[in-house]
């Protein structure tokens, strides 16, 4: 029984924490929305608004269907670098609120909207120039009322004269001149003014695209010109129309200039936002229900239309023989090809429409649940906990901590796996589609192999390496998610699930393996430095590294060649010496170097550890480094601060590798040769 105490405690902590997060809050509970409104008004609201129901309303933005909840969180991520948004009730009291309520306040132009602080500014010089208070305790976040306030600034130009401007105007003017500077030559001030301008643009895009005020007829042309950039195609489109289109609020608003009657769904949306603006929650709930009803009718109508379309395509394809009856020779060929082409074109139209009207619509509440649960964040917390358990285990109560660790590890792997699966379920694409998801997936891959190693060797190094690597990967992914939606659309050449599921997965797992081998290299160095290593442990680490490198060699080779085959199949060039291709080749070559050096007897465990650690540098170069060169086909976005971290990463590794270059004698003896160490080991 005593054996299982650690297991049970670990089970309760890990599983309990995971399950506590596993349910998104609902409207009918006196949850956060309710508490917030009570706090702010000083009394309980007469009706609780169905804010969470609103958060699950679908919209098309950035090329995919997503709920308002995701729009709110992604926008906050861009503007505030965090999904947490607070409302300041007084100077010493602020309350955290659901992002959807912030968005509702913002797009309905509720009075509260001006007070949220979320415009994050990175540069003190800029804050100073804008005459804003130095708000260090709030991470330098500022509210719309501050950015759009009446405050006037003397804007001094280079040519000597100056003029008075508002803050917003100042920022925009500064951003314009910073934008003219070459990307590589911009200084910190210019970069941060540009990023602030981008945040302001996003904020205005959100508000203006939801404008519901009636535009008077005599102002029509003027308003149309002013608003035209927001009417354009890239606004959030929450309104499904009766004729099978997704449209933005502002588009429906100004459509009547073309003489068209406004539709029922638009009216419902307008009334709903109007009611929220006045804090009339009873009416809000009613109009929300109305909007959902009208929307569903339109959605059903469109679905029916698409079903019929599909039926007619299938029918035509099935009856192709009948249509071709009596035709011969060239005519037959011609007709057959034309039918097949028609079928193909209709199918591709249908499939892109299905993406916007099909099963994705049923995933809105799931996506809100995913946003709320944030399983990647949860995994990050778990990796930290595992690291701590692992460290304790090395010090005392070894068997108990080992059992606790392995149970916690299993739950962490489950949560991480679930998170990766959620992204697949929501986006419909294989797990790795961009840098963000590659980071997430590499963390997962390390954890999977790590748990296998732990079960095989029971020495804690699987737990420790996975905990550190998993945490670092997820930390990197958080820093890569600043651009907003991490499930963005795929450009044409990448839009192939087959290649994403084969080439990208194998190559990413290849990265995983080399990182893991490098991690075990670290274990050897640290174990040898601080604790002494028995010959048995030395042998085990050697085997683990050898096995992982073989696994990595296989995956990186197959992955790299599959990438070449993709290139051959897509643009006829198996190997183009593109930087990313070269990076992958370097990993394969390095793994080959390690394996051949082992077989040649040039290296033993110490050398293996050193070379494996160098493998980390090679892999990091291939993963991120080549993007710094900004040449070639694969150079998708990466910031210059990445260069610093990459450099630091390489330096740390190089330092340890140099340490490894010292002869083995300097590293102390094996435990067998030192009775004291041997006792410790046992």
């Amino acid at each position: 029984m005593k054996k299982y105490i650690a297991v049970i405690i670990s089970l309760i902590i890990f599983l309990g924490y995971a399950l506590s997060k596993a349910r998104a809050p609902q409207d009918n509970e006196s949850g956060k929305a309710y508490k917030f409104l009570t706090e702010i008004n000083g009394s309980e609201p007469a009706t609780v608004p169905n804010a969470y129901k609103f958060a699950e309303l679908p919209l098309v933005y950035g090329g995919r269907l997503k709920p308002y909840d995701t729009l709110a969180r992604n926008s906050l991520r861009v503007m505030a670098d965090s999904e947490d948004i607070y409302y300041k009730i007084s100077d010493d009291k602020k309350i955290k609120i659901p992002p959807a309520i912030w968005l509702l306040d913002t797009i309905s132009e509720n009075e509260r909207a001006k007070k949220y602080q979320f415009f994050r500014i990175y540069n003190l010089e800029l804050i100073d120039k804008l005459g804003l208070p130095n708000r260090k305790s709030d991470n330098y976040k500022y509210a719309p009322e501050e950015i759009y306030g009446e405050h006037e600034i003397d804007h001094a130009h280079g040519d000597g004269h100056s003029h008075k401007t508002t803050r917003r105007q100042f920022i925009m003017e500064e951003a314009r001149s910073a934008g003219d500077v070459d990307v590589k030559k911009r200084n910190v001030y210019q970069t941060s003014v540009l990023s602030l301008a981008k945040k302001i643009n996003l904020y205005e895009h959100l508000t203006v695209s939801h404008v519901t005020q009636e535009v008077p007829d005599d102002m029509a042309v003027l308003s149309y010109n002013r608003l035209s950039q927001f009417i354009g195609s890239n606004s959030p489109r929450p309104i499904p129309t009766a004729n099978g289109e997704w449209e933005s609020v502002i588009f429906m608003n100004v459509r009547k200039f073309g003489g068209e009657e406004s539709s029922a769904s638009w009216k419902a949306m307008k009334d709903m936002l109007g009611a929220w603006q006045k804090d009339d929650f009873g009416a809000f709930n009613e109009y929300l229900e109305n909007f959902i009803k009208v929307s569903n009718e339109n959605i059903d109508k469109t679905k029916e239309f698409l079903d019929e379309k599909e039926k007619s395509i299938n029918e035509r394809e099935a009856n192709i023989e009948k249509e071709l009856e009596g035709l011969t020779g060239k005519e037959l060929y011609e007709k057959k090809e034309s039918i097949l082409t028609w079928v193909f074109n209709s199918r591709s139209y249908l499939s892109s429409q299905r993406d916007l009207w099909g099963s994705a619509l049923n995933k809105m509440s799931f996506e809100r649940f995913f946003n709320h649960m944030a399983p990647f964040y949860l995994s990050m917390v778990f990796y930290v906990m595992l690291f701590i358990i692992g460290c304790f285990g090395l010090l005392f109560w070894r068997p108990h901590f080992w059992r606790a660790a392995i149970v916690g590890f299993a739950i962490t792997v489950l949560v991480h796996t679930f998170a990766v699966w959620c992204r697949y379920y929501i986006s419909g694409y294989p797990p790795v589609t961009n840098l963000y998801s590659s980071a997430v997936f590499i963390g997962w891959g390390v954890a999977i192999v790590g748990i296998v190693l732990e079960l095989m060797f029971k020495r804690f190094f699987g737990v420790l390496v996975s905990a550190i690597a998993g945490y670092i990967c997820l930390f990197i992914s958080v820093n890569l998610s600043g651009d907003g939606d991490t499930m963005g659309t795929m450009v044409a050449v990448l839009d192939t699930k087959f290649w994403l599921a084969t080439h990208v997965i194998t190559i990413t797992l290849g990265y995983t393996a080399t990182f893991l081998a490098g991690g075990i290299g670290f274990v050897w160095v640290f174990a040898k430095l601080f604790k002494g290593v028995s010959k048995q442990f030395d042998k085990e680490l050697n085997r683990a590294m050898y096995g992982v490198i073989c696994y990595g060699m296989f995956l990186s080779f197959v992955g790299t060649v599959l990438g070449g085959l993709w290139a051959d199949d897509s643009w006829g060039r198996f190997w183009g010496w593109d930087p990313k291709e070269n990076g992958a080749l370097m990993i394969v070559l390095w793994n080959a170097v390690i394996l051949h050096a082992m077989w040649a007897g040039i290296i033993k465990t110490k050398g293996l550890a050193a070379l494996s650690m160098f493998g980390n540098i090679v892999t990091a170069w291939s993963w991120f480094g080549v993007n710094l060169l900004s040449v070639g086909l694969h150079s998708y976005g990466f910031t210059s601060s990445g260069a610093f971290w990459l450099g630091l990463f390489a330096l740390i590794h190089l330092a340890l590798i140099v340490l490894c270059a010292l002869p083995l004698k300097c590293w102390g003896e094996y435990a067998e040769e030192n009775p004291e160490l041997k006792k410790k080991e046992a």
């Binding site: 950035g62 997704w246 011609e334 839009d495 192939t496 290649w499 296989f554 010496w577 040449v631």
Partner: protein, 548 residues
């Protein structure tokens, strides 16, 4: 394990020694040259450099042969065996793999300053690469080092050495240890496997594979990989009969060699070009990239296999300043000046010594384009003079630019009068007409429709596709084909890919590749993959047995 005490110091550290010596002599010539010639004006093509390169080659071969340099040499084995042994050294393998890793890294860095094709030619597809030190130092300090460089083994040297290393290792260490019936069966099955691989590669060249719009791309790739898996399995069985447990390594190394062969075939035989077709137009030729010709053609036959006289690039670039008479060309011509990359600019005052556009325009030389600049291709230009065959009549002096051809602007069209007939003058890409094997008439490709779909509410491309009509009169083929992203057309031994489109979406640009070795990498992927799996699984089984 204790080392035998008899080993000399040099023998002990032979590996490090050989690396040190090689590196030193690779770097030295660059510095020597820079010092002797002065940093400002030196040329790579001087005898001194050539000598240094050959000196290098000699030294590298010395070090490779004596990769156990001094020690191995004094052992009591016979010389040929000694040489093969040192060639077969695993240490040499490690050294070569590490050197190739460095080369790949350096070749990647070099792409920040030079066009991709320049890098491929000067780093990978060459015997020795000349590495500029400036690529390691970004920004302005790097520019100051522009002249400093060192020599490094190029792709051909490393690849060749690896090949020698691999073959000698197999000849020494991988003995066929099967006897009798097993041995004979092994030979037969291995030969069958090799034949199957040969057959699949041959099919890839010969078989016309017109995709129909309704075939998913993954099916075709899976089919190729599976056919590779079939032949590889046969090969593996054969090798297992012959080499037993080492079969995995044998076929995986065979796959690697095949992959190197594929890259060689690509380097020497593959051509790449583009077809630019406007909606409703037919085109029957490919503009070969990076190869040019001077064309004198009848004006009224655009795009067809017109009767035109073409003069290929080497006559234009190799004999600048000389009057030339070529067989079948009804005039004499002289290239006054050749610009590898030139822009067309207006003259401030007209120059009446030129004909046609030369009066108003001039050529302004531009630095050869690099990968980071927007214009990725170099647009050559030239000034040329023409006179009649007997030399009596001056036909005029022209400026000709590839840019004029690319822009397809009618205002840039120039006429020349030869024997009383007006003809068009163009400096254009070399044209490759789309002949099927043994055909006399080229295939015609007509663009019916180009589609460019974007995701709703974004400008992100969801798909590009070109609906074309393929007409091959010889084979009586006349049908529609849809070419889209990730869905190419394979025909006449060429592959047609969706590459780009006209800015107003009124036309398409197809990339056309002709590569006889295109099928080999598909096979290599499977062969090496299976070989590794076999080898690693054997190790795993051995390991788990020992554990249990």
């Amino acid at each position: 394990m204790s080392e035998p005490a008899t080993k000399s110091l040099a023998e002990k550290h032979s590996f490090s020694l050989s690396i040190l010596i090689t590196t030193f002599f690779l770097i030295l010539p660059g510095f020597l040259e820079a010092v002797s010639e002065g940093l400002e004006n030196f040329q790579t093509n001087n005898p001194f450099t050539t000598f240094l390169i050959w000196f290098n080659l000699w030294w590298v071969s010395q070090v490779f042969v004596f990769s156990k340099p001094l020690g191995g040499f004094f052992r009591k084995e016979k010389l040929p065996k000694r040489i093969i042994k040192s060639f077969a050294s695993l240490k040499l393998t490690v050294f070569l793999l590490a050197v190739s890793l460095i080369l790949v890294f350096v070749g990647t860095l070099a792409q920040t300053g030079a066009g991709i094709w320049e890098v491929v030619d000067t780093y990978f597809r060459c015997a020795f690469s000349r590495v500029d030190v400036s690529i390691f130092v970004p920004g302005e300090p790097g520019e100051k080092l522009a002249r400093l460089h060192f020599f490094f083994p190029g792709g051909f040297v490393i690849g060749g050495c690896l090949l020698v290393n691999l073959l000698s290792a197999h000849s020494l260490k991988f003995r066929i240890n099967a006897q009798g019936a097993r041995r004979i069966a092994g030979y037969i099955v291995t030969a069958l496997g090799l034949f199957l691989i040969y057959y699949i590669v041959k099919q890839g060249i010969e078989k016309e594979d017109i995709p129909s719009a309704y075939v998913d791309s993954y099916k075709r790739v899976l089919y190729r990989l599976l056919s590779g898996l079939g032949s590889t399995s046969v090969l593996l069985v054969g090798c297992w009969l012959l080499f037993k447990k080492r079969a995995g390594i044998v076929i995986l190394h065979f796959g690697i060699i095949l992959l190197l062969v594929a890259e060689l075939v690509t380097a020497f035989y593959a051509t790449e070009g583009t077809m630019t077709i406007a909606e409703g137009d037919s085109v029957s030729y490919v503009d070969i990239s990076r190869d040019f010709e001077l064309a004198i053609s009848e004006p009224d036959l655009p795009g067809k296999s017109e009767k035109s006289i073409t003069i290929s690039k080497n006559y234009l670039t190799d004999y600048v300043g000389e009057w030339q008479t070529l067989e079948g060309v009804p005039f004499q011509f002289r290239v006054v000046q050749w610009f590898p990359n030139a822009d067309v600019k207006g003259r401030s005052t007209n120059d009446e010594t030129f004909n046609a556009l030369g009066k108003e325009y001039k050529l302004a030389p531009v630095k050869e384009s690099t990968g980071v600049e927007e214009a990725r291709v170099s647009l050559p230009g030239m000034i040329a003079e023409f006179k009649s065959l007997d030399g009596s009549k001056d036909l005029g002096k022209y400026i000709l630019s590839h840019r004029m051809y690319i822009e397809k602007n009618p205002a840039f069209s120039q006429d020349i009068t030869i024997d009383g007939k007006v003809k068009k003058l163009m400096l254009r890409n070399r044209r490759d007409y789309l002949y099927s094997m043994g055909a006399t008439q080229p295939v015609e490709v007509k663009l019916i429709d180009f589609r460019h779909d974007t995701y709703l509410g974004t400008s992100v491309a969801k798909n590009f596709s070109s609906l074309i009509n393929l007409e091959d009169k010889e084979k009586e083929i006349d049908r529609k084909v849809l070419i889209s992203m990730n869905n190419p057309l394979r025909y006449t031994g060429r592959t047609f890919y969706q590459q780009s489109f006209a800015p107003d979406e009124s036309g398409t640009v197809l990339q056309v590749v002709h590569n006889p070795g295109w099928m080999i990498p598909y096979l290599c992927c499977v062969i090496v993959g299976v070989g590794m799996l076999f080898q690693f699984l054997l190790t795993l089984i051995k390991f788990s047995r020992r554990q249990a």
